[in-house]
Assembly symmetry: C2
């Protein structure tokens, strides 16, 4: 059996998230069905993690086992042939049989995009959170650095998050303004449910002047979800890359500079 | 009566183009109906020109007459309240009563976006023409400058284009690569039906090495549509700005540098 690791892009607008579920169509299910059509047998995908309903990805990672003796290119182009236009396989590599998509991941890069503009944007409506006020990006940057390191992110997760531990590692978080877009790039070792979205909601409150940047420290200490900001809308979030170590063989993508 | 000039953004994916027509829903119709709801009377929009089905705009210009004594901000926010999420009014200014949206326009800026990549992109599928081969951008640039000036664009229009004259003025055309995107920015005095799309299709043929850059000169001389390239897909095209002279009063947008 070979283990094949796929890099996947999808527009999450039409899906109920990555993970297969009884109600609603999941990205995982659509790709598994495409692989089944390509390979002629049921195929189970194991991903680096889940994404919520409506969240996008330009670099989701997911692996499957197969005995098919196809060239790697065929796993890309053959699967894409059976996929709808809002999902595509970007790359396929072969990895060692013991590969574990979740625990082998060194880090993930998420990007959250905010449109700070008095008027909404029809062309960016599916890929940004529209906020009518201008935001103090300097204050947001000052707050963001307080997330870097190992911290208890209990205040920054969905109320129904079932993770056993809430300590996570953030490697870097950068906030940049490009015209009327404000882009939040977060790289970290792992993320709780809705973590980037609650971090974003809280950073936006700071950008609005509702909290001081130092408020982040308080939330990391008290772990109280109710005192943090809103969960930012799913449409602004995109999983950009999952970083795996080079020992996997072929380098999937270059590791982040923080390592 | 006041004359109000609107700047409009829309995602053209769901529409049969700008202009009202018997079959299919046009952007013009949707905005006229929103203005009717806001103002309580039928309102006719006159635009700087049409866009084809599926073409986008981030700076369409269209004017209407009204006796409503509303502040300009209300024409923006009030109309947006009645518009769907894929259309928005960005700005409203008052212009002299003799204002003519087509003939007063000094120039228009269109942008055509190509995704040159072996794999299609789910996230950019609605706003770029996907081409699997890489393109020779230097050759395309060399060809593009030959469009600048007054020329007979008879070879670069829809076969059913009914314009009486086919001489048009191109002020500038710039081609830039941003990652795997190739962006064609065209500023000109006016455009025939499908003109930017046929220009793009021909530039892509040159980027593929099918024609030499100098072939553009030949097409501008012989005016033979059949010898030019394909009509590039609508989804890659966006009307970015319409430039009006400053004598209109308030400056809508700064005039292009070519003037």
């Amino acid at each position: 059996m070979r283990t094949i690791l796929l890099t996947i892009e999808y527009d999450g607008t039409a899906y109920s998230g990555w993970q297969r579920q009884p109600n609603g169509l999941a990205v995982q299910q659509v790709i598994e069905e495409a692989l089944c059509q390509l390979l002629g047998q049921n195929t189970e995908l194991r991903s680096s993690g889940r994404t919520d309903a409506g969240v996008h990805a330009s670099g989701m990672a997911a692996a499957f086992k197969t005995s098919a003796n196809l060239p790697l290119k065929a796993f890309v182009e053959g699967t894409n042939h059976f996929l709808p236009i809002d999902i595509a396989i970007l790359n396929a590599i072969e990895v060692p049989s013991g590969f574990k998509p979740i625990s082998d991941a060194l880090a993930k890069h998420y990007r959250y995009t905010i449109l700070a503009s008095a008027i909404r944007s029809p062309l960016r409506r599916l890929h940004a959170w529209h906020i009518r006020e201008n935001l103090d990006v300097n204050a947001m940057q000052k707050a963001a650095v307080l997330f870097v390191g190992h911290h208890n992110f209990a205040a920054f997760r969905a109320s129904n998050c079932s993770a056993k531990t809430t300590v996570r590692r953030i490697d870097s978080i950068e906030i940049t303004r490009e015209g009327d877009s404000i882009i939040i790039d977060v790289v970290g070792g792992g993320f709780l449910k809705n973590m980037v979205r609650v971090m974003t909601g809280t950073l936006v409150d700071i950008g609005r002047g509702r909290f001081e940047p130092e408020y982040i420290q308080q939330l990391l200490q008290n772990g109280d979800r109710k005192q943090a900001g809103v969960t930012a809308p799913a449409c602004g979030l995109c999983l950009r890359e999952v970083y795996y170590p080079q020992y996997l063989g072929e380098v999937l993508i270059s590791p982040p500079e923080v390592f």
